[in-house]
Every structure is written in C-alpha cells, then in structure tokens.
Symmetry: D2
Amino acid sequence: MIHTSNNIRVRYAETDRMDVVYHANYLVWFETARIKMLDQIGLPYREIENQGLFLPVLNISVEYKIPARFDDILDIHIFMTKKPRARIHFKYEVIRDTEILATGKSSHGFIDRERKCVRPPQKLMNLIEVAWSS
Amino acid sequence: MIHTSNNIRVRYAETDRMDVVYHANYLVWFETARIKMLDQIGLPYREIENQGLFLPVLNISVEYKIPARFDDILDIHIFMTKKPRARIHFKYEVIRDTEILATGKSSHGFIDRERKCVRPPQKLMNLIEVAWSS
Amino acid sequence: MIHTSNNIRVRYAETDRMDVVYHANYLVWFETARIKMLDQIGLPYREIENQGLFLPVLNISVEYKIPARFDDILDIHIFMTKKPRARIHFKYEVIRDTEILATGKSSHGFIDRERKCVRPPQKLMNLIEVAWSS
Amino acid sequence: MIHTSNNIRVRYAETDRMDVVYHANYLVWFETARIKMLDQIGLPYREIENQGLFLPVLNISVEYKIPARFDDILDIHIFMTKKPRARIHFKYEVIRDTEILATGKSSHGFIDRERKCVRPPQKLMNLIEVAWSS
C-alpha cells in the first residue's frame, strides 16, 4: 500500500448557501492528493503529461458523512491499495481532526495524446514498487 | 419513473488543460438536472429551501465514457426510478447527440436547518405520485 | 455598437455561504456572453480556436451593486462599443428583471499557439463591420 | 502598509483548454490572500462572520500579464496601502519566482446579516493600527 496525505484549508469559494462545502469540490481535493502521491512516489504528474501521457478519471464516487465548512483545515488522505495494471485505483478519506468527513474512490487509465489507452509508464511502475516496499 | 432532461452548453471555464471538461463539473450539471426535475414535478428546490428544508448529497458516483468538450451542447438526463422513502435516488446520463458520454447516480436525504434528518415533505411526495402516473 | 445578451439561471454551485453568488462567477457569465456575441456576429469562438487563434483576457473588472442569488434568472448583456483594432473591448451588465446587479469591462488580444500577439482575423473584422451597421 | 503573502500551488481544476489558468481563478487566490492577511492581523475572517459581519467584494479588477500554469508554485501578495475607513482596499500581485504574472485591486465594505452597510469593527481597526506600525 502507498499512502499520502495532503493538507488543505477550505476556501470561501468552495462553500455554498447551505453553509457547507459544495460537494463537487471534494473531487478537486482528491485530485490535489493524487498530485501529492505522485510527487512522493517520485514522478510528478506534470512530468507524466510532459511526456505526452494523461491519466483521466474513469470513474469516481464519494460518500459524504459530515460536511466540511469554511476555513476548515483538512487532511485529504489517499491510498493505493492495489498495484496498478492497466488501471490505477485510489481510495480517499477527508479528515478533520479525527473525524472522517467523507470517503471516496476513483479509477484512472493512461492515455496518449490521441486519447488511445496505453499501459502505465514503466518508470512509474518501478517507482511504485520502490514506494510499496518502503 | 420520472424523467427530465436539462440542456446545457459547455462553458470554457469547465474545460481543463487536457482539452476536455474537468470531471468535477459533471456533478454541477447533475445538480442543474435535479433542479429541473423538481421544477417539472411542481416544487422548485428554491421553495423547499425557503421552507427550511435542504436536500444535500449523501453519495454520488460518475462513470466517464467519452469526454465532453468545450461548446458541446449536452442533454443531462435525470431519472427517478424508485419512489423516495427516507432517501431520494437519482440516475443520470450525459448525452451528446446520440452518444452517452457519462452516467451517474446520487442519493440525497432531507435535513432541516439544524441538519437533522427529516422525512421528505408530504407535498413533494404527493407531487411525485402525480408525476409518476403521468 | 454590437449588443448581445445571454440568459442564465444561477446554479447552486455558484452560491457561497453568504447566500449570494460568489463574486468570481460573474467572470464566467461574462465569458458565456462573449461566446454568444461571437455566435451572433457569425464566427463562433470554437472556430477561432480551431484555426489556432485564442482570445485571452488581458484585464477585467467588475462592479458589484446588488447580489445575485440562487435560482435567479439573469440576462448577461454584453456591448462592443468600439470597433476592435489590436485589442477588443467589451462592457457587461448583469440584469435581473429591471435591476442592474453588476457591471463589468474586459479587454482581450488575439494570440497564436505560440502565445505571440497577432491581429484579429480579417474574417472577424469583416463580420463585425456587418454586425455594426445592422 | 500591511503586506502578507500566501503560497499556492496551481490545481489541475484551475486550468482550461488554453493550457493556462482560467482567469476567474485569480479572484479565488486573491481571496485566500485576504484570509491570510486577516489571520496575520489577528482577526480571522471566520471570526468576523461569526459575529454577524460580512465583507463582500464591491469591485475587483485584474491585469493579466503572464499566464500561470498547472502545478506552478505562486505567491499571492496582498497589500493594504491605505488605512480603511468605510471601505477597505487591497492590492494584489501574483508572483512566480521573480516574475509578476498578474496584479489586481479590490474594494470591500462591511455589512451585517440584513446586508446593511456598517463600519468596520473597532477591534479590526485597532489591530490594523498595531499591524501598520510593526
């Protein structure tokens, strides 16, 4: 398993008139956690795209338990619990202090500039092996 | 079953550097379709909130098949396939011409101003009965 | 002068915890009005980008007078009051019924794929001439 | 003068198909800098709203010079160059390394829950005096 967490502070722009965070913003936070995990693994997502590969979201789901609010300090935890083959799967937890506010899952597949499905880059696979055992 | 569709045009703001619509925006489109269905049923969501009730998202999922792009004209179809009890469930299809670009599901529960779970308003239940048989 | 207006309905996602529309969303609405004006002139912005030209915002300003709210039906009026030379200038009014909620201005310049400044496409200039006198 | 800066990392969600940051997002970054300045002054904005006061944007403007891009690390500098009276004015600079990518200005006025204009809270005025001379 690989685990990373990203710390965020809820922006005013992310709230809605129900006085909680608008639900679509959790997907944006999940993305910041994926970016952070790839940094930590050693292959920043920016570099993946620079090589002409992209990692779009194939499916995503979120379970909302307790609303996040303006100015909350949150930890967005991300977990890779299975080594990727064609697809990469992530799980997420949005945590405020010791409370789990929301959980989520997403699956992703690599594509090239022509949007053709391709295998994950070997460099990434190697780095995941290293990160897995550490 | 109750079925409604809402027509939207993809905004530049909704795209990302992959030259497709950023995935979180589909959740916003789903919301516009829920609003439209409640209009059609005869109890606009605005009026529900005016009475001190709110209908937050409990969980949501999206399956992305074909990317939506800038300036696409899309139909966001929404389906209520089960009559609500405590929770209301919706299914979604994002359609461009005859292609299904994405599908989704969400569940919602009514809460009051103190965020206490409450049953759906009787007026809504009655209007759903009427819409169901029509 | 060329004048176009675009009708929008305020989305829940566009509100914030002050129970009004979050101020940055007005810029997105202005963009929908620019798109509509270019449609009306006869050269959709999508086609401009398809030819490798882009029209980024150089500067923008907004004056907020009365807050827009969830579910408001608004007309976003856009005015081209000077024929473009190197730069194109737009003015905006956000109107609810007969009230002006906000006004704005923006300036734009054409660039190519290498982000080099270029003159507006001649086709657009010709179409503006036609739209101006009509 | 009071000066604060807030460090942000550009999110994928903030980019658009022109492969730069969508222009409306700069307003969101300005907001994060205002929040940070109020923290530094000693009266977090959250506490101001908890007391039933709000600080909406009255007007805002941005000058875009060089585009910000995905994954950029940016410093959002904010300056209060005049002591507030009825209105509070801020200036902004978006900086990447040593380059100024954009500048901006905004004006704000305090309102209460009924949206009536009120004077800035005395506590804030006192704290600004302290921050000014330090």
